[in-house]
Assembly symmetry: C2
Homo-oligomer: 223 residues x 2
């Protein structure tokens, strides 16, 4: 349905001007507005009217270009390939615990700096309709991509450790603390607005990983 105008633009101007270019520019403007709005105000009040208002156009264009709000969310998910930015810890390899420490630290810092991902994480916790399932699918794949390289760069995790569950527990804690940083700003007496607090959190993460997967100098955990 997207190439409904292909019969006319095949011989038209290549790019930069013309109707097809204007249409594509407006599509991009709407998508940008939706991302900006979602990252800034969250999904409360996130709808056709708000996106159109942010984009400075009429909401009828959303229905014409994206087939309504659901279609806009689909196109939005396809645009969310960036998510958490470049994987900084791609170069690290070696001991499983070392790689995991590095990946988790980079992930936590990238997550805290990315308001859009935080808003979508919170959105998934509240809504469970197909709208969030569409977006959440793309996000889950991106997060998996962050951690799927750990095995390749480090070999399998030490035997006897439930690595899948332990990693999930650590990331779950990272998610929750990052979300609380944006909402109330504190959690169980911890001041999540204080950078020093996050240094302590990272230290605890490192301690847990070291205790489970051993130190980088070959010291495994005791049986």
């Amino acid at each position: 349905m997207r190439d409904g105008n292909a019969t006319h633009t095949t011989t038209g101007p290549a790019n930069g001007s013309g109707r097809a270019a204007a249409r594509e520019a407006m599509r991009e403007r709407i998508l940008d507005a939706a991302l900006t709005l979602l990252a800034r105000d969250g999904f409360a009040g996130f709808g056709v009217n708000a996106v159109a208002r942010e984009a400075g156009c009429d909401k009828v264009l959303i229905y014409r270009y994206f087939n309504g709000f659901d279609g806009l969310l689909d196109s939005l998910g396809a645009r969310l390939d960036i998510w958490l930015g470049p994987e900084d810890s791609d170069g690290v390899s070696g001991h499983y615990g070392s790689v995991m420490r590095s990946v988790l630290q980079d992930y936590l810092r990238a997550l805290r700096a990315n308001n859009l991902v935080k808003q979508i994480l919170a959105w998934e916790l509240v809504q469970d309709d197909d709208a969030t399932r569409r977006i959440g699918k793309a996000k889950g794949d991106a997060i998996g991509r962050w951690f799927q390289g750990v095995r390749q760069r480090s070999g399998p995790p030490p035997a006897g450790s439930d690595a899948a569950v332990l990693n999930a527990v650590l990331i779950a804690a990272a998610h929750h603390l990052a979300l609380r940083e944006n909402s109330s700003g504190d959690f169980m007496g911890l001041d999540l607005r204080d950078p020093n607090c996050w240094a302590r959190i990272e230290a605890v993460f490192n301690t847990i990983i070291t205790g489970a997967y051993g130190a980088p100098d070959g010291t495994e955990d005791p049986p």
Copy 2:
């Protein structure tokens, strides 16, 4: 402002009938309806109209009895003294790690069984107005009460461990996983609807606590 009718009911019928009893009964019905609605449908669409519809009365009573929706939330917070039920691990005492293991396990199970608390936790992550701050204050106090007895029953945590941050990390993970159980039902490939999955999660929690605080037989963590 609540005892505005005290001048008339001091000599009236003690209880069971009369206008004051009817008013109190209707107040309770509204509060019950609000709790039921919040636990069932969450805070999406949680408002004056929805509560009145659930209670089967007119919404003007909410304004007359509670001074609007904010007052209703206040009265709701005062009613949330139960929260997570009885502290089952009150009897456990001894080693810090043992007490912590028991308390965290009971807390996780009580949290998973309590839909109302889960909804409020999710609500806090999204909204940050004074409405949720009021409710969240009572909740934070109740959670603190769960864990404040650990020190009394076990003495201080082992030196060198950042117990405050570690406990916060574990509870943050418990919160996030419990919330994902209700929303999408999975997290990083883990099937949170499978009871066996939760057994593995509890095992990982135990492993982490044992690694940080030592085993109950006096084995401390290596320096």
